[in-house]
């Protein structure tokens, strides 16, 4: 979470500087800058995820050397899951908490012509984003571990794609549906990366 926050900080710094250096009146330019800021933020998030991976790897080695049986008490997969989850939680919380706080207060959604489904779509998008971050974390760490750099590239690309799709809001059919499809696919991918298989599911369901 801390690492995500730092990446967000740097991204906003870049955006802030660029906004202040540019013409504030031009709406199109501002929108373009926003897109630029968002893209930079996504790239920075992934970079910090990588940095976090390196840090955890070091800690893992340290733990392994001092433990009794040479293995660390936490597996890398668990660390991947936790890191992805924490990225997701902090990103989701930052995205949604102000909306939640406003939803308590008096007001009418979309009175100025925006979509009346703002709150519910925000909720769904946030949920998708949290799940996505978790899956990306698992895939990312596994890819770094096995040095499959094309996987890494895919993760970054899908993050950029997801963020880009949100730019199509409020055309919700075009943004929500693809994002959920991406979430499902990434989830399946992460499941198989983490070692799951159909047999595991069957075993789990039959409670053996």
């Amino acid at each position: 979470a801390f690492f995500w926050l730092v990446s967000l900080l740097l991204a906003s710094l870049i955006w802030f500087v660029s906004v202040h250096l540019s013409d504030q009146e031009d709406a199109k330019l501002q929108y373009g800058l926003l897109i630029f800021g968002a893209a930079v933020s996504v790239l920075l998030q992934e970079a910090f995820r990588f940095a976090y991976f390196k840090l955890l790897k070091k800690a893992d080695e340290g733990l392994a050397t001092i433990s009794e049986d040479g293995r660390s008490p936490i597996s890398l997969r668990q660390m991947a899951y936790v890191s992805g989850l924490s990225f997701g939680i902090i990103s989701g919380v930052f995205s949604v908490i102000n909306i939640l706080a406003d939803s308590i207060g008096p007001g009418i959604v979309g009175i100025h012509g925006d979509s009346p489904y703002y709150f519910i779509t925000s909720a769904f998008l946030t949920m998708a984003l949290v799940l996505l971050h978790t899956f990306w974390g698992v895939i990312f760490f596994d890819a770094c571990e096995k040095r499959r750099y094309w996987c890494l590239g895919l993760v970054v690309a899908s993050h950029l794609l997801t963020s880009g799709l949100t730019f199509l809001n409020p055309w919700y059919e075009a943004s929500l549906v693809p994002i959920f499809i991406i979430t499902l696919c990434t989830g399946l991918w992460a499941f198989f990366t983490a070692g799951g298989s159909f047999r595991n599911i069957l075993k789990c369901l039959s409670c053996k």
Partner: protein, 458 residues
């Protein structure tokens, strides 16, 4: 670990002592680490506040074992086990400290967000005499710096006074001071707090009920904190008084002064704990020399320590240092421990009351708690509370400060595990918190707001 001790004095001199986290090693007793932070908070209403916290890490206990076993062959395995114990305990203690700090912050933020009273400006403490309602920025800055200087010097004077009292063994005076201060805190502040909360929610309460509630609350609190009581109840009370104190600070410190004070207090803390002549360091060392625990009721302790029958030959039987016991009893216990240096004897202490939960007797390792000064709690909560009260980005800023403080606490505990001596708990966390507060409020907020208005997600 930093322990805080805050004593608020009589009306004329409220003082808070902050003790930084310390790890103390006392040779006859397996070393423990204490963090002491004494912070002195002045109260305009001359309330006494006490904050104590010490953090201990189990590492020193392992060190003590080594000095006693003296078998060279075992040393390498002992070291490995120590380190493993260190890390295992370290992680557990981090969690044990996260929970109370989080609870305190939640209470403060919830109160700030709901009760209007604590965000209204109703005057200032006499410790911050300069007003901030000045027309020019420079004047305001100057006033806040002057306020900070006055506040810090009050705190320094009080800390030195306390250390001198401790050195010259004026225990009765100190205990009286602490008792009066916690009395004030538990009764008067709780009364005000309860009054304001009831006003906010428009709930009527008659005076007899109020009297009953506050009397019970205060009396049980006094007993729990100063004498014996269930550990969790004592922890709950310490969290509550830290939250109350933090709320008072948030209300009565003017804006800029509060931020400058936070920064200055971390620097002071750093110096007071690490410099050889720092008052807090002297306090801790004196306490270690005399094998006494630092004042009870000023320190938040996350677990009780007791001697249990040791099945493992490596751990030494330590004198218990349950915070709920008297100082006198603790002194006695600590003096007894050197005679029980041989850890192989299974030693169950007969005077140990039945309260130590019997399940712990199955524990092969001693349950060592971590101690954190209450002043740390207070200043962390002040930072988060101020962020909640004044930030325009609302929850994002508060959350960012919260994460920053917790990460700072983590790092401090890590350093404690590495250095094994008393460490100030404030600097790292407060630095992170301040950085994140200002940057989130000014940089991240416009970015997130613009993104949210277009419903863009990153």
């Amino acid at each position: 670990m930093i322990t805080f001790m805050n004593n608020s004095d009589s009306e004329e001199e409220p003082c808070n002592e902050r003790t930084s986290l310390m790890s103390a090693e006392s040779p006859p007793v397996p070393s423990y680490q204490d963090g002491l932070q004494a912070s002195e908070a002045g109260e305009a209403q001359a309330h006494r506040k006490r904050r104590t916290g010490s953090s201990r890490s189990p590492n020193n206990i392992a060190d003590g074992d080594m000095s006693e076993s003296g078998v060279p062959v075992r040393e390498s395995t002992l070291e490995n086990e120590e380190e493993e114990l260190t890390l295992k305990y370290g992680a557990k203690h981090v969690i044990m400290l996260f929970v109370p700090v989080t609870l305190c912050m939640i209470v403060v933020v919830a109160t700030i967000k709901s009760v209007r009273f604590y965000t209204e400006k109703n005057g200032q403490l006499i410790y911050t005499p300069f007003t901030e309602d000045t027309p020019s920025v420079g004047q305001r800055l100057l006033n806040s710096v002057l306020n900070t200087i006055i506040m810090i010097s009050v705190i320094v004077v009080m800390t030195v006074f306390l250390v001198l009292l401790y050195k010259y063994r004026c225990y009765k005076f100190i205990h009286g001071w602490l008792i009066l201060s916690s009395l004030m805190l538990l009764f008067l502040f709780t009364y005000i707090y309860l009054g304001e909360v009831l006003k906010t929610y428009n709930v009527a309460m008659d005076y007899p009920t109020l009297f009953l509630v506050i009397w019970n609350f205060g009396a049980v609190g006094m007993i729990c904190i100063h004498w014996k009581g269930p550990l969790q109840l004592q922890q709950a009370y310490l969290i509550m008084i830290s939250a109350l104190m933090a709320l008072v600070f948030i209300k009565y410190l003017p804006e800029w002064s509060a931020w400058v004070i936070l920064g200055a207090i971390s620097i002071y803390d750093l110096m007071a704990v690490l410099c050889p002549k720092g008052p807090l360091r002297m306090l801790v060392e004196t306490a270690q020399e005399r094998n006494e625990p630092i004042f009870p009721a000023l320190i938040y302790s996350s677990a009780m320590m007791w001697t249990v029958g040791m099945a493992k030959p490596d751990t030494t039987a330590r004198g218990p240092s349950q915070q709920t016991w008297d100082a006198a009893e603790d002194g006695r216990e600590n003096h007894r421990s050197p005679s029980h240096a041989d850890s192989r004897m299974s030693e169950t202490r007969s005077p140990v009351p039945t309260r130590p939960i019997s399940s712990f007797e199955e524990l092969e390792e001693e349950e060592r708690g971590v101690k954190l000064g209450l002043g740390d709690f207070i200043f962390y909560s002040v930072l988060v509370g101020k962020a909640a009260a004044t930030a325009s980005g609302d929850w994002n800023t508060t959350l960012a400060c919260f994460v920053a403080i917790l990460i700072g606490l983590c790092l401090t505990l890590l350093l404690l595990a590495v250095f094994k001596k008393a460490l100030p708990a404030l600097p790292i966390s407060i630095t992170f918190g301040l950085v994140f507060y200002f940057s989130t409020d000014n940089l991240v907020r416009p970015f997130m707001d613009t993104l949210a208005s277009h419903q863009l997600y990153i």
